[in-house]
């Protein structure tokens, strides 16, 4: 067996040489012959009736091919959502606009400059209306965003009531009763988990090419979900799935924002069909900021009740989540992902209520973590405040309330069962890695010198690996685009006649390195070197069914399917080898690039021989079909539940409010690890985005609904220079949910880090009396909190 292919080996990412040298092929790199370019007119007003929309001058602009408005495309109907609660986004504005950035008209022109000139030439009059931006005002229904909806509150998620079929018990009375106990310590914090812009390095981009001769589409799109896009196009244009080929080539980051199918993709396809030529659109950075989904956007109050000696008696969250103006893919369902981990790593009753409200802003949906960073943030911030209130070490208070290793699978009040865990194990590892006792000492020394140094602890459990079939029943699938109602994983493993391997998977990377991880899985199973394994993804023609990459699901669901397919191929190969070697298949052992009979290393068939034999009927067993291939699907019985605990050491300059991260330690447990370098890379990026939320990022709409952060000038992102060196380590608690015992690591860093930083800063300033600061902890807020506490 080639050493480079062993699962758990630190294989370098195979995709990097091409990407680093600039040979990656992204959608915007492609320019088909006769391609026309699209630019959209987008609303500069948050809420208005459109009283005039005159495109005649635009149509006369040099280089313009066509200008389309709502009436031209309304026959296609709105693009459906998977969880269709709320108002669907019209393809183009239907007489009104409901947020800044809403598409009103589409211009198609010979080049993108001409397209933009024509957009500027469209004459629009708006009858401006008062927008609804503030979440509390939205909830009050004082002004309704959409007349046709009963209320701005689209849905209210409750811990016990999210799915009637489960018949869960309402634990609110239990939590309330705990608060009345004589020995109860009740700590509440009102907090904001601010709205964020996902900011993928590669903006969204799509090229649709309608072939009138064959009546078929080829669509290249920078998407996380090519099959979903294919399904949506098939459905809306009345085509067979075989007549819609969607290709997601290299995708330069997604973080959930490319998990939606977007109107823009449908409109570009429409234009291509209408004009009979390829049509291309690449969003501008401003569109990426204001017309691609946002994440987070919650306000709420978290309350923890416990005893004076640190025993948790209950947790309550009352929050409002911002859905934006229109419902897209999973919009209203995002808080539900947080609900499932509302109790974190702790055994306690929970009362959890999140109102989903519509506002005159861009739609929110899945952004790295999707509901889970919000849920964990509220819980872990208030735990920290409680620990401080009772004067207990924040690690000790957590450990005291963890689920214990012998309690797994641990069924929570939300009905789901945590699969496996050793939460205290991760804490012990963290203490050792960080030198916790020394850090506490250092903090005291620094404080004695008048410095504001703080230690922040943040634990998390997350839910990923979507998913179990039950999720389809509450809308988590692409069923509304005509795809099967499941989140199955799938994988095809094919050994070619020259003993190379083609692996086709139903999930595609947006930077995660599937080319490497999948080659390790298959290479390990077959004893074929990673270099001889080609991993194909992101092309609906290659694979009949794929769910996509999101929710940290690829490895534990599609990876597991590929693992099973590999096993089937090996079993068949063993029968062929047995035939060649005139032995029993049960005695065949694969080793060193070939097979031999157990105990007789000389009786050996190389892979090249086995592979060739598989495709020659006369050299393979009579009762075997020709070829050496397996296609397997995998449907997990449960989600997976990774966990970990992080620690940040920070120092605050009390003169300026400037926060400096001095050190950062993370212990994450994602079960078995296939590719350690990729796992650490995921944790690195995840923590960077968590730190981004904690310190820098904030998508801001003013009271009039203007977007104040429409470019990267006003939306600061963390860069390498802003981040400390991260000390990453892992514990390994396998899951039995899938055959590889793997969980998922794509979102863990993000879910574990934002509250860790805030806890650290509050710890640093707690001697001054600071109890909470809302993110982002920009210097102005930190300084203002210091002023307020000292006055």
């Amino acid at each position: 067996m080639a050493t480079t292919s062993v699962m758990g080996g630190a294989v370098k990412r195979r995709e990097d040489p091409a990407l680093i040298k600039g040979y990656g092929s992204f959608v915007d790199d492609m320019t088909p012959t006769r391609v026309a370019h699209v630019a959209f007119l987008r609303s500069p007003i948050a809420r208005a009736k459109i009283t005039k929309l005159d495109t005649s001058a635009a149509k006369e602009t040099e280089g313009v091919v066509a200008v389309y408005t709502h009436d031209d495309v309304s026959h296609l109907g709105p693009l459906l959502a998977q969880v269709p609660i709320g108002k669907l986004r019209p393809l183009l504005a239907d007489g009104e606009v409901n947020h800044v950035g809403e598409a009103i008209a589409m211009v198609v022109a010979e080049n993108r400059y001409a397209a933009q000139d024509a957009v500027d030439a469209i004459d629009v009059d708006y009858d401006v209306m008062t927008p609804v931006i503030d979440l509390k005002k939205a909830k009050s229904d004082e002004i309704k965003v959409h007349d046709e909806l009963e209320s701005n509150v689209l849905h209210t998620w409750t811990y016990h009531g999210y799915w009637d079929a489960l018949g869960l018990e309402d634990q609110t009375a239990e939590v309330d009763a705990a608060m009345e106990r004589d020995d109860a310590v009740v700590v509440s914090l009102e907090m904001t988990n601010q709205r964020l812009i996902p900011v993928a390095i590669e903006p969204r981009s799509v090229i649709a090419d309608w072939n009138p001769g064959y009546g078929s589409f080829t669509i290249h799109s920078s998407t996380q979900v090519p099959h979903a896009l294919g399904g949506a196009v098939s459905k809306m244009f009345g085509l067979k799935s075989t007549d819609v080929r969607v290709i997601a080539p290299e995708v330069g980051g997604g973080f959930g924002c490319k998990l939606n199918v977007y109107n823009d993709e449908i409109l570009v396809a429409f234009a291509s069909q209408a004009l009979g030529r390829p049509v291309k659109w690449t969003e501008t950075r401003r569109e990426a900021a204001g017309a691609t989904i946002h994440g987070r956007g919650w306000i709420g109050t978290a309350t923890l009740v416990g005893t004076k000696d640190g025993e948790f008696l209950g947790y309550k969250l009352e929050a409002i989540a911002d859905m934006g103006a229109y419902t897209q893919n999973f919009t209203v369902a995002i808080p539900l992902l947080g609900l499932w981990i509302a109790s974190g790593q702790y055994k306690m009753p929970v009362s959890w209520t999140v109102d989903c409200v519509v506002t005159n802003t861009m739609t929110t949906d899945a952004y790295r973590g999707a509901g889970r960073p919000e849920a964990i943030y509220y819980l872990e911030r208030v735990i920290d405040a409680y620990a401080r209130e009772i004067g207990m070490d924040p690690l000790d208070v957590r450990v005291k309330n963890f689920w214990q290793p012998d309690e797994f699978p641990a069924t929570m009040g939300c009905g789901f069962a945590l699969d496996s865990g050793d939460y205290e194990g991760a804490v012990e590892k963290l203490k050792a890695e960080a030198g916790y006792e020394d850090l506490l000492q250092k903090r005291e020394e620094a404080r004695a010198e008048g410095r504001h140094v703080g230690i922040g602890i943040g634990s998390y459990v997350e839910v990923c690996g979507f998913g179990p079939a039950v999720l389809a029943e509450i809308g988590f699938s692409w069923a509304n685009y005509g795809l099967p109602a499941s989140f199955n994983g799938s994988g095809i493993v094919r050994v070619n006649p020259d003993a190379t391997v083609t692996v086709v998977i139903g999930t595609g990377p947006t930077g995660q390195g599937h080319q490497t991880t999948w080659a390790q899985i298959v290479g390990d199973g077959l004893g074929i070197p990673v270099e001889d394994i080609k991993v194909l993804h992101g092309d609906t023609r290659e694979h009949p069914m794929g769910i996509g990459t999101f929710g940290s699901r690829s490895l534990s669901v599609d990876g597991a399917a590929t693992f099973e397919a590999t096993k089937k191929v090996r079993e068949k190969a063993a029968r062929i080898a047995a035939h060649i070697l005139e032995a029993s298949a049960d005695d065949i052992v694969f080793e060193d690039g070939g097979a031999h009979v157990a105990g007789s290393p000389d009786k050996r068939a190389e892979w090249a021989q086995i592979a060739k034999a598989a495709y020659q009927a006369h050299t393979s067993p009579e009762d075997l079909d020709s070829g050496l291939e397996a296609h397997t699907t995998f449907s997990p019985g449960n989600a997976t539940w990774p966990f970990g605990t992080h620690l940040a050491l920070v120092e605050v300059d009390s003169d300026t409010g400037d926060v400096k991260i001095l050190d950062y330690y993370a212990v994450d447990d994602c079960g078995n690890v296939v590719s350690p370098m990729i796992v650490n890379g995921q944790v690195h990026g995840g923590i960077a985005q968590g730190i981004g939320q904690a310190l820098f990022e904030d998508a801001v709409y003013d009271e009039a609904g203007n977007m104040l952060t429409g470019s990267l000038l006003d939306y600061p992102l963390p860069t390498a220079a802003d981040l400390p060196s991260l000390h990453l380590s892992h514990t390994v608690t396998p899951t039995d949910v899938n055959p590889m015992g793997v969980k998922g690591i794509g979102e863990a860093g993000t879910i574990g880090s934002a509250h860790t930083i805030v806890n650290a800063v509050v710890d640093a300033l707690s001697p001054l009396g600071v109890k909470h600061i809302d993110m982002p902890l920009r210097p102005k807020r930190v300084w203002a909190a210091i002023q307020e506490a000292s006055n």
Binding site: Y113, D117, G657, D658, F696, D722, K780
Partner: protein
Amino acid sequence: MYPREFDYVAPSSLDEALEALGDDSKVMAGGMSLLPLMKMRLFSPAVVVDIGRIGGLDTIEESNGDIVIGALVRHATTATSPLVAQVATGLATAASLTGDVQVRNRGTTCGSLAHADVAADQPAAALALGATMVAQSSEGTREIAASDFFVDALTSALQPNEILTSIRVPKHQAGEGSAYDKLGRRGGRSDYAIAGAAAWVKMEGGSVADARVALTGVGTKASLANAVADAVIGTDGSEQAVKDAAARATEDVTIIEDLYGTEEYKTHLAKVYAARALSQAIANAS
């Protein structure tokens, strides 16, 4: 992010460049500030005159007690020049804290001054160090004191037919020192200044004989904080003396709020950074 149509001229001599300038033209050196504005269609000149191919503008030279920094000297060069670090310290520091590596490799010291962004690093340094701007037009050469150069947000004293061909900065003499410091939008010194200050001092016999302090990021333009300089001159430059003087930092400036700071906070920061820059300049002078 697609600009409106414009004419692009890339002359190889200064004379040709000056000739190409008109009422609706814009000079481009590194393009780090101009191009984003054009791409967002916030600014659409009819003609862009790219001076990048004109020889002889990319040098740092010494001349009559000054150092002369040409129009095409990149931030990276200003930041890493041992000469600038020694004799115009604050300007070198400002260059080193501008943007990121890519921006510093493209953007120019003179270009940043001509752009006159309210939160840029170079203007405060130029003011504190007493730089002189050398502007050329087809009619001749004009020298403009830094204190007269910054007119308003994104507005300098340059006329549409002028190119800022160089700046002259008096070299620090014995007993003189300068410094620049800021709080960036991403914390630390990263990104545009929420507030920043540059200071220049001349120390004689253990006391401050002369000083200039300038602020950036807090108002509608970079500006001298003369009250601070007046207050520190004649003192021993001690921590307390600097702090007392810096308390007057905002007497000469109208504070503008933005996403990164309230008026109260920026007023406070102006004092903090005036003090930090002054203290560092005094330390550098000895």
